[in-house]
C-alpha cells in the first residue's frame, strides 16, 4: 500500500541539462537531512518498531549523541553557533541504522531524520542524487506513517539540509595542503610582500545567503579543510558544501522541493568554487566547461 504522504512527495525531477557534471567527481559522502518540530512522544521504546521497517537493509544499530537543532536566521550580527547540548539534552539519543557494508546510514532522532551515503572503497561510485533522494522520501514517509499510526505526532519539517563532502588530491602528487590555489579560486595564496616562507596549509571557510524572490531562506556553507586520508595518511583537502534552509511550508512535499533545490545549488557551487584544472582532472562532461 502506498501511503498518502508518499503520494504528496513528487519524485525528483530529471537532472537539469545545464547542471555541471563530472565523470569522476571526488565525492566521498552525501547527506540528506530533514529537521522537524520535535516529536517528544517518540521515545526509545518505539525505535524497535521503526527499525522493523528498515532492518532487512540496515541491520546494524548503534546509539549516538543527538544532533542539536540548527536554524538559519538573518538580519542580525553573524556569530558562531553555540552548542547547548550539555544543558538541553533530550531524553532520547540518535539511532544509527547501517547497512552491512557501512555504505548507507539512516539516522533518526526526535526532531531529525538523515540518510548518508559514504564511499568505502575507491571503486565505489556515488549512486546519483535522484534515486538516493527518492529512497529517502520513501524512508521518511515510513517514519511519518509510523508516528501517525502510533498516535505520536507527525513530521513538520523546519530545516532541510543537503551536504556533499569531497576528498580532493592534486593529480601530479603535489601536496594539496601547500597548494590550495590549484584547487579553488577562492584562495590565491599570494602575499603583498614576500616575507612568509612556504605555506604549510590553509583553511577556507565561506558562506553565502540563499534568496528566493529577494527573501533570504537559507545559506550555503563552503569549507576547504586540510586533512590526512585515513587509509595512508596522504594529505588531502576535504571540501564540504552544505546547503541548509527553511522550507516554504511545514510539509514533506515542500521539504523535498527544497532538498532538490539545495542539491542543484550544491552542484553549481562545487563547479564555482573549484578550479578549471581540477574540473579537467575530474573529467567534466557538461557543455558549460
Amino acid at each position: 500500500m502506498v501511503s498518502d504522504s508518499l503520494n504528496m512527495i513528487p519524485p525528483a525531477s530529471p537532472r537539469p541539462a545545464d547542471l555541471p557534471d563530472f565523470e569522476a567527481p571526488p565525492v566521498s559522502e552525501v547527506v540528506l537531512s530533514i529537521q522537524f518540530a520535535s516529536v517528544p512522544r517518540f521515545r526509545s521504546l518505539y525505535v524497535g518498531g521503526i527499525w522493523d521497517e528498515f532492518r532487512d537493509e540496515f541491520p546494524n544499530v548503534t546509539e549516538q549523541a543527538p544532533i542539536d537543532p540548527t536554524f538559519e536566521t538573518f538580519g542580525a550580527s553573524a556569530r558562531p553557533p553555540q552548542s547547548f547540548q550539555v544543558f538541553m539534552t533530550p531524553p532520547m539519543p540518535r539511532f544509527w541504522f547501517e547497512t552491512k557494508d557501512g555504505v548507507e546510514l539512516i539516522q533518526i532522532q526526535q526532531d531529525r531524520m538523515v540518510h548518508n551515503w559514504r564511499k568505502r572503497e575507491l571503486s565505489q561510485h556515488y549512486p546519483h542524487y535522484e534515486p538516493f533522494r527518492n529512497r529517502f522520501a520513501s524512508e521518511i514517509t515510513k517514519f511519518d506513517d509510523f508516528l501517525v499510526a502510533k498516535e505520536l505526532g507527525s513530521i513538520k519539517p523546519n530545516q532541510c539540509e543537503v551536504a556533499y563532502i569531497n576528498t580532493i588530491t592534486i593529480p601530479d602528487a603535489t601536496d594539496p595542503h601547500a597548494h590550495l590555489e590549484r584547487i579553488t579560486p577562492l584562495w590565491l595564496g599570494q602575499q603583498s610582500e614576500p616575507f612568509l616562507p612556504r605555506l604549510e596549509n590553509a583553511t577556507v571557510q565561506a558562506q553565502y545567503v540563499l534568496r528566493k524572490d529577494e527573501k533570504a531562506f537559507g545559506r550555503v556553507h563552503v569549507n576547504f579543510t586540510p586533512m590526512l586520508q585515513s587509509s595512508d595518511n596522504a594529505p588531502m583537502i576535504q571540501l564540504t558544501i552544505l546547503a541548509r534552509g527553511k522550507p516554504d511550508e511545514e510539509s514533506l512535499e515542500s521539504a523535498f522541493q527544497l532538498l532538490d533545490r539545495e542539491r542543484e545549488i550544491i552542484v553549481r557551487t562545487f563547479a564555482a568554487v573549484t578550479s578549471k584544472e581540477m574540473h579537467a582532472f575530474w573529467r567534466r562532461k557538461d557543455n558549460a566547461k
Binding site: E29, V31, S33, A37, S38, P40, I67, D68, P69, T70, F71, E72, T73, F74, G75, A76, S77, A78, R79, P80, P81, Q82, S83, F84, F87, M88, P90, Q107, Q110, D111, V114, N116, N158, Q159, E161, A163, I165, Q205, Q207, K215, A216, F217, H221, V222, N223, T240, L242, R244, K246
Partner: protein, 167 residues
C-alpha cells in the same frame, strides 16, 4: 575578580570562529568582532559578558523545560526543546556584551517569551515555535507601540536592542 573580567574581555576580543560543527550538523559562522569604545571601557568592564547571559539564559531555559505539563493549571504544555533552541539562536545573534539580560517566561501555548522592561523601553519577543515569533516594542520616549510577526529575519530587533544596550 578584575583579572577574570579582564580575561573575559580579552577572550571576547580574541574569540575566533572555532565553534564549527561538522557534516550534517552544519557549518560555522565567522564572528562579528566586538567593538570596544575606550570611553565606555569602565561601563563595559562591569557589564554582563556573553558568558554571563548565556549561563543565566541556559539555566532558565533548563528550568522551563523541566516544568510539569499543566504548570498554569489551565492545561499549558511545557515549553518545547525546539522553541528553547530557537530562543538561543535569536539571542546569540542579537545580544551584545552590554545588552541587559531579558526575563524568560513560559507561555501558555508551549512557547517562550523574552521580556525587557527598562530604560523606558518595553520589548517582548514571543517564540511559539521555530520561525513563529511576534515582537512587541514600545519606546516610551519616542513613539507608539509596534507589533511585528517574525520568521527568520530578525533585523527589526537591531534598533530596539541597540537602544536597550546603549541608552
Amino acid at each position: 575578580m578584575q583579572n577574570n573580567t579582564a580575561r573575559q574581555l580579552i577572550e571576547d576580543i580574541e574569540r575566533s570562529g572555532s565553534n564549527v560543527m561538522t557534516t550534517a550538523a552544519g557549518a560555522g559562522t565567522p564572528p562579528a568582532p566586538p567593538r570596544l569604545n575606550f570611553n565606555r571601557f569602565a561601563e563595559y568592564y562591569g557589564a554582563p559578558s556573553d558568558q554571563k547571559w548565556q549561563i543565566e539564559i541556559l539555566k532558565r531555559l533548563f528550568e522551563l523545560t523541566q516544568m510539569s505539563p499543566d504548570w498554569d493549571s489551565y492545561g499549558a504544555p511545557v515549553p518545547t526543546r525546539d522553541a528553547s533552541f530557537f530562543v538561543l539562536e535569536i539571542l546569540n545573534n542579537v545580544m551584545r556584551s552590554r545588552t541587559p539580560i531579558p526575563q524568560v517566561v513560559p507561555s501558555s501555548v508551549g512557547g517562550i517569551q523574552l521580556e525587557w522592561h527598562e530604560k523606558d523601553i518595553d520589548l517582548e519577543l514571543h517564540v511559539t515555535a521555530p520561525y513563529q515569533c511576534e515582537v512587541w516594542f514600545h519606546d516610551r520616549r519616542s513613539g507608539a507601540p509596534t507589533s511585528t510577526e517574525l520568521t527568520n529575519d530578525f533585523s527589526s530587533l537591531s534598533a530596539p536592542i541597540s537602544e536597550l544596550t546603549l541608552r
